[in-house]
């Protein structure tokens, strides 16, 4: 394969991959870049807060590495890495309030971490022992959605419920509530995302549409989803939008904080496009070498969001060795915890497939479960005649 400079420098392209208008507070070398509109949004973030963001990203990265290794060892059926998108996810996630509600796609491990979801619970889905894995109401973090874009509507409907509860525009920071839908560039081609934008706009619902444009929908580049920057669509719906450097954790935090404030105060929805890069494969079943050049991956590896914040903290001499060492030990412990916990996740009982199909008894499910249990038992007991009247 031969590649033009444009192939490598996707961020320099026009159209949906342009870097025009990206809000940036940290440049790729970690230098703090002043921004007249967003500086105030991060002014309160002291060195401890920045180190906390750094810690979040490092732990989520470690989670990614461990989960990928577990998949390669056959312990997980599949895994979808968040690799490269930690800043967009942690920055936006840390801008949320406890009462806010998140509707993620399936790669939002960084957001899950900020919502207090036990990361090993995320792996229940990928191990094949659960379709969900955590209590969505306890964390304000809904289950992963695999049907691309479907949850943009759930988020909007949830936000319409928030409006009906009077939990918008009261001025009470403990009460006013925002909802965030996370999805990718590919999802923006789905009708449900557009319908979500319509419903959110006409209802002025307190919802933030957070699109991580990671430039790849499995093998399809964003140029197959759009001709113009994806954020440019939102104003056509009557929704303000902003493009942010998604590899900049501070900028991701700042634009999300602004959008959340608009939502909570009754100002309606916002569309955020976080421009980032899927550094890994779509999932462990994918092979990016078939459709994108290694040079492009290398280009973005040099723009790693974690390296950027580390460079900044080193420049400002706010990353003492004791912190680095303690974090490394914490990451090692997390890795050990993940390996141990995942390997201990046992196979559910076969009859559990009948549980929770309905909230109330359903005679067909009950009959099939009864038949199945009798059938299973017949192997143990050495008998099991099923005559007229069996459910199967």
């Amino acid at each position: 394969m031969s590649h033009t400079a444009d192939d490598l420098r996707t961020d320099a392209q026009a159209g949906p991959l342009t870097t025009d208008g990206l809000v940036q507070l940290l440049d790729p070398d970690g230098n703090r870049v002043p921004h007249p509109q967003y500086d105030e949004r991060v002014a309160h973030l002291d060195a401890d807060a920045l180190r906390a963001l750094y810690r979040d990203m490092v732990l989520v990265r470690r989670f990614d590495v461990e989960a990928t290794a577990l998949q390669r060892q056959g312990e997980l059926a599949l895994f979808a890495q968040a690799l490269g998108q930690e800043a967009a996810q942690v920055g936006s996630g840390r801008a949320l309030a406890a009462q806010d509600h998140v509707f993620p796609s399936y790669r939002e491990h960084g957001v899950a971490h900020t919502r207090g979801v036990e990361l090993t619970d995320v792996l229940r889905l990928f191990r094949g022992v659960d379709h969900g894995g955590w209590d969505p109401t306890a964390h304000g973090f809904h289950l992963y959605t695999l049907v691309i874009g479907s949850h943009a509507l759930h988020a909007t409907g949830y936000a319409m419920g928030v409006q009906r509860d009077g939990a918008v525009g009261t001025g009470d920071p403990q009460r006013d509530t925002a909802v965030v839908a996370y999805f990718g560039d590919g999802a923006t081609s789905q009708g449900d995302v557009s319908e979500g934008l319509v419903f959110a706009a006409v209802n002025q619902a307190p919802v933030v549409f957070f699109c991580q444009n990671n430039q790849w929908a499995i093998s399809e580049p964003t140029t197959l989803q759009a001709r113009v920057p994806i954020a440019d669509r939102a104003p056509g719906f009557g929704i303000p939008s902003v493009r942010v450097d998604g590899n900049d954790v501070l900028a991701s935090y700042a634009v999300t904080a602004e959008a959340l404030e608009r939502a909570r105060s009754g100002g309606g929805p916002t569309f955020i496009e976080a421009f980032t890069y899927r550094m890994g494969a779509h999932t462990t079943s994918d092979d990016p070498s078939r459709y994108r050049p290694a040079e492009q991956e290398e280009y973005w590896r040099r723009r790693d969001p974690i390296d950027r914040l580390r460079a900044h903290l080193e420049q400002t001499r706010e990353l003492p060795q004791e912190f680095v060492d303690a974090l490394a030990a914490e990451a090692d412990a997390l890795g050990e915890h993940i390996r141990t916990t995942v390997r201990a996740m046992g196979r559910p009982s076969p009859a559990s497939m009948f549980e929770h199909v309905y909230a109330t008894p359903h005679s067909v499910v009950d009959a099939e479960r009864a038949w199945f249990q009798q059938y299973e038992a017949s192997f143990l007991e050495g008998h099991g005649q099923h005559g007229e009247g069996s459910a199967r």
Binding site: F103, G157, R164, V168, A359, E388
Partner: protein
């Protein structure tokens, strides 16, 4: 409702309620559903109606007539014209603690919402291991016989009954409609509520003071008989009753079973009947191929094979798109076709 939300969404405030109807009244099917919805709205402030033209217009069939004026536009919600959006936002509202009742304007327009219904609504309780319940009702005026244009006369109920996690019901009379719509709204499970639109203007006695107690599942024998069991639901129950009437004049005793629900399918009630009659005919407007009749036939054959005097027969739509209005009555299971099937069952 807060002032903020009303301002934000341009919602109107409720007006004075219409005079209360009580006792047993002779009502149309549509009015019975209307009053069932009204009672649910009045009894539970989390109940919402959502759909296209259901507000000031009262719905294209006027089933929600007067409810917007009484309960306001925050609870009787005219939505954008997008069925997936209606069901998808209803799912979100349900997660927030509301009980949305969606109206899909016509059967043939439900398909943009098919994904939300089958991949999301049906599975959320299951995939959350019971942590989330989605008490969403989707009302679907369905079936033919009204002389409509394409996509306005279809019977897609089996497509939903095939999906675990959904309850699929269809009332057959105004009294059933009044109670079943309230039970559907009260159910913690998602319910597809198929309303036989061709029967909307037929009248029946409805006890408006009765507390709904029949449940959403369980077939019922609506006319006892001894020679043939005629199984129907929704719009074809009236057809079956007329067939029984006609057959009685010729000395044949038909037992009519109203399934009420096709998910769950109550085979036990049908089997109990067939063990007595030995013959079974199933009638529905939906196409016969892969339909409810096929499922009933298979289950009855399993349950009471040695009681059957004839194969279970099916009367329903053909494997052709719903035809143009001028010939729709040749497609629908008419009284004559039902009686023909009864004769075939008797002479097998």
């Amino acid at each position: 409702m807060t002032t903020t939300t009303e301002q934000a969404t341009g919602q109107t405030t409720p007006k004075a309620a219409a005079p209360e109807l009580t006792g047993t009244q002779r009502l149309t099917f549509a009015k019975a559903i209307n009053l069932g919805l009204r009672r649910a709205l009045a009894d539970d402030p989390t109940t919402l109606l959502m759909g296209e033209d259901i507000g000031r217009l009262g719905g294209v069939f006027r089933v929600t007539d007067g409810l917007h004026a009484e309960f306001g536009s925050a609870r009787v919600v005219d939505t954008p014209l997008a069925e997936s959006g209606i069901v998808g936002t209803a799912i979100g509202l349900a997660m927030r603690g509301y009980r949305p009742v969606c109206e899909i304007q016509f059967d043939g327009f439900i398909f943009p919402a098919f994904d939300q219904i089958t991949t999301q609504l049906a599975k959320m309780h299951y995939r959350s291991r019971g942590r989330l319940t989605l008490p969403v009702v989707i009302r679907v005026p369905y079936g033919g016989g009204i002389g409509a244009v394409e996509h306005h006369s279809e019977s897609p109920e089996v497509l939903f009954a095939h999906t675990a996690g959904l309850r699929v019901v269809s009332p057959s009379s105004p009294a059933q409609a009044y109670s079943m719509i309230q039970e559907a709204i009260a159910s913690p499970d998602p319910v597809l509520f198929f309303e036989p639109k061709g029967r909307y203007w037929e009248k029946g006695d409805v006890d408006l003071d009765a507390t709904p107690a029949d449940g959403l599942d369980g077939a019922r024998v609506v006319r006892p008989g001894t020679d043939v069991t005629l199984v129907a639901y929704g719009p074809t129950v009236q057809t079956a009753l007329k067939a029984a009437e006609a057959a009685a004049a010729e000395g044949t005793s038909i037992e009519v079973v109203d399934l009420r629900a096709i998910s769950p399918l109550d085979t036990a009630t049908v089997a109990e009947s067939v063990r007595r009659t030995g013959r079974c005919v199933v009638v529905h407007e939906a196409p016969v191929l892969y339909g409810t009749g096929g499922e009933v036939a298979a289950r009855i054959t399993e349950e009471c094979f040695f009681h059957l005097q004839a194969p279970v027969l099916r009367v329903g739509g053909f494997h052709a798109p719903y035809p143009v209005a001028k010939i729709e009555h040749d497609y629908l299971p008419s009284l004559d076709r039902v009686l023909d099937a009864v004769d075939r069952a008797l002479t097998f």
